[in-house]
Amino acid sequence: MRILSNKYFLLILRLIVGGVFIAASLDKLYHQEEFSKAIYYYKIPFLDPFINISAIIIPYLELFSGILLVLGIFKRGSSLIIIILLVLFIVMLTSAYSRGLDISCGCFSLETVGEKSNILLRIIEDILLLIAAIIIFLKSKIIINKENH
């Protein structure tokens, strides 16, 4: 598992995860109302008061974390935020899937939310990104520890 600590491997992971988050944020930044609707369509009652505030802040969280990850600044802080966001997305998608929410109707039509209109694929994508983000978070930590010893 030495490859996981390889700096080029970690750089590629950072570019992929950061790049995906930057790209995902752009459409949401330009279509806030649509993103707000997309969150609303998950039909999670206790989220209702926070839908718009989430739609306002999440795109910037994704954008800033993505840029910082790509640039290699605040790697652990940005990967931690990305991990939290991905866990949130996976929980929401799984909840929507298990409740049989109708997502094949274009409800999740915001391109970044589900162009493929296939919730399982979205969950798998997010799990892969989560694994990559966790590797970045943990391995960045190990490198720092080694530097201090």
Binding site: Q32, D48, N52, F64, G77, S78, C107, S109
Partner: protein, 188 residues
């Protein structure tokens, strides 16, 4: 606390500090940009009228003729109707507009319905929307629907049509699922 555990605690603090800085910067950027953006959204989403199916009238005729209230955007808001009214309008040759994508529409839809996928329609200009609507008889009542009430593009599509100037739009939330379950006319 020994030196090693102090070191670990300080590293945890620095990770949290980084995350908090990113969060505060994101929240500040989001709130400021939203405040100065003319298309910004409210801090709290208001969907209170979204599902209000108007069943207050005992006679469907009143409901059918009822026009929505004039919206802040200067258009008449579409009115939600129950399945009984939708069926009555169907029998009276109202135009049914299916907001789902072409693939789903082709798999089955309310008989005689027109397909105007919301996904493409929402991004059209007013003139382009009018052009698309030329294909349907807008002198009749238009009933917007999608697959079911967990879908809601029936509502969004209806609002897009209303914003384009059409003021005889109804929303049938039950959609194709409820319609076909009741054995009402469908086609592929």
């Amino acid at each position: 606390m020994n030196g090693v555990s102090k070191n670990i605690a300080s590293k945890h603090r620095s990770v949290l500090l980084e995350a908090v800085i990113i969060f505060i910067a994101s929240a500040a950027a989001g709130l400021i940009v939203n405040a100065i953006n003319p298309n910004g959204i409210g801090l709290v989403r208001d969907d209170s009228d979204r599902f209000a199916v108007d069943t207050s009238k005992t006679k469907n005729e009143n409901l059918i003729n009822k026009r929505g209230k004039l919206n802040k955007g200067g258009f008449l808001e579409p009115v939600n109707i129950p399945v009984e009214t939708a069926k009555q309008l169907f029998d009276e040759k109202a135009v049914f507009v299916d907001g789902r994508e072409e693939e789903e529409f082709k798999a089955g839809h309310i008989k005689g319905a027109e397909n105007i996928p919301y996904k493409e329609f929402k991004d059209k200009t007013r003139d382009e929307k009018v052009e698309i609507m030329k294909n349907i008889d807008t002198s009749r009542i238009i009933v917007s629907y999608c697959s079911s009430d967990s879908c809601e593009i029936s509502i969004d599509n209806a609002y897009e049509m209303a914003k384009a100037g059409y003021n005889n739009i109804k929303i049938y939330l039950g959609g194709y699922k409820e319609w076909s379950k009741l054995g009402y006319p469908t086609e592929k």
